[in-house]
Symmetry: C2
Subunit: 349 residues, 2 copies
């Protein structure tokens, strides 16, 4: 009988999660039944949305129950198969969460070809984060050639993909990151028109200078001070795809001070702007095919840069996740759960 | 030589306009040149957007200059014509502002047929306010049959049209007005599922009770306390066409207290909502034909109720306008500028 070691939710965080909100457990797994496979996790994806799953609040997805395995996308290898769909040795994209092994139905698991792209990219630019960027750019923001497109967290998997997809559409791209190292990477690696450090004391002025014609599309994935600097620069008919608000995920209570809600509504009205929240899940059925066709082609053509931040060992996932919410990661955060999982070939820079 | 008596902008208001922000002037008009017509104003439309034109702030339309004639749509009669397009006696939809006469090019003036509908409806349900409602419902909000649609100021020209257009699409409609008289009119005249008084001390609870399945489309034309009651009830994928914010137009400065902007952005994100500001002007080229076809048919079929609030005499326009910003009007506010203009036949109730 196989055992799975898992990181489970130990307690619900109030505000910033702590290491003690997680605990590690090892539990036996049943053998696979008919139609099922036994998988071992090679790579686990860590993403900001997981913070929301730790809350017991109404959202577009169910909360992780107390004592439940933390949710997450995985790249996994088939160890045993009782399904004609998969054979031992196949590598698949799965969603087994923060654990070393899983037994599940073989239905809906997508086989990955390591010759096409490094396996871990299926958790990043060629996977869910890339798809979220694709929907925000291609379906909601739709920057036209010459329009100004702004995105933050642009060394991360969603932001870097969004910046590059917008550039491919011919937009003028202003990409923002936190700190000099990340900003320098963006400037060097991404083909953008301006790379800005949101931690600079002159950030708001820098942004205004980098967007002399205003902002037509702001891909929102951070919120907070970046949004505050963006808002006055938004043009008539600006579009704001709201993909996420990572700066807000650990917020508790509310900010005292001036209520800016009426001013935001007035700006939306007067400037005839569109603010649209979205999650990539709602577009899987309709847009996956176009995403795979476009983004794999751009990848094969060498047009995409992509950086990973690989953490070794499942036991280090909680600390890495907490760091990500503070912006400590530098690139797509992936946990190498199986020590022998192949090294990533994603542009390491 | 003809003279025109006009209401001009005397001073820019700070907050709520005063009567002294207007003054009346009589000025000579030149005779019409080639291609021009001399018009006399029969009816003048008073609309909330005019408050914005009194400010010297960036908006989607230019401000009225100090000393300039207040802007506004008019139903006007041709007195003299030097254009083959129009003949004396023709009645047209024009935009001559708050004045008794005007000389202008005959180009672009639409001839009105009093046999089709009362002339003043061209300023209301069959004109700009009806068109704004049409865009907000048909193009942006798009309530599906059975979805819950909410609109305020529903005894006014935009709100009453929006409520009825949504009803024709098969939506469940909750219509809101200020005060018992208006609410009673909505309940009696409009075919809506619930009529609510926003001045009731139990308004927020009344709204929750009237929308037991939440709100799918909120047609925003008032802002303020109505929006505050709507926001927590908005469903996943809710759409909020932002047509106007009449409760905000006289605001000065900002509200102290809790900053609700981050919470609004979080709600837009988590509920995957769309907030879209619009002005009907942006849709004239593309949607006028469909609007005229649909709404004139519904009008002829007797499916639309419409109420007017007629003010006699241009000199009473400023006081009526100020009252409208406080919600004193009951129905579409129209000034009968020419004492002999035909009485309206719009459902007087």
């Amino acid at each position: 009988m196989t055992a799975s070691t898992a990181v489970v939710l130990n307690s619900r965080p109030h505000g910033e999660p702590k290491l003690t909100d997680f605990r590690v457990e090892t539990r036996p797994l049943p053998p696979p039944a008919d139609g099922e496979v036994l998988l071992r996790t090679l790579f686990l994806s860590l993403d900001p949305y997981m913070r929301g799953r730790m809350n017991d609040a109404k959202s577009y997805a169910a909360a992780v129950p107390l004592g439940g395995v933390m949710e997450g996308g995985t790249v996994s290898e088939v160890l045993e198969s009782r399904s004609p769909l998969l054979a031992p040795g196949d590598v698949v994209l799965s969603h087994d969460g923060w654990q070393t092994h899983a037994v599940r139905s073989a239905e809906g698991l997508r086989r990955l070809d390591p010759a096409q792209a490094p396996l871990s990219t299926a958790l990043g630019i060629l996977g869910m984060p890339g798809f979220a960027a694709y929907i925000g750019v291609e379906e909601i923001g739709r920057p036209a050639a010459g329009e100004t497109f702004v995105v933050a967290a642009a060394s991360g998997p969603v932001g870097s993909a969004a910046a590059q997809f917008a550039r491919i559409r011919g937009a003028r791209v202003v990409a923002i990151a936190g700190g000099a190292r990340k900003t320098e990477w963006i400037r060097r690696e991404l083909d953008v028109d301006a790379a800005l450090d949101r931690r600079s004391p002159t950030f708001a002025d820098d942004l205004a200078a980098a967007a002399p014609d205003g902002i037509d599309v702001y891909f929102e994935n951070v919120g907070g001070a970046v949004f505050d600097a963006v808002l006055p620069l938004l043009n008539d008919h600006a579009r704001v795809p709201v993909c996420g608000l990572v700066s807000q995920y650990n917020r508790t209570g509310a900010d005292e001070g001036v209520d800016r809600l009426p001013a935001l509504m007035t700006a939306i009205n007067i400037k005839r702007m569109t603010f649209r929240g979205f999650t990539q899940r709602d577009f899987i059925a309709t847009h996956t095919e176009a995403f795979r066709a476009d983004v794999s082609r751009w990848w094969r053509e060498g047009r995409l840069r992509y950086r990973e931040d690989i953490v070794e060992g499942l036991e280090n996932a909680p600390a890495a996740f907490l760091g990500m919410l503070r912006g400590d990661n530098f690139g797509k955060l992936v946990v190498r759960v199986a020590p022998d999982a192949p090294a990533s070939g994603a542009s390491p820079a």
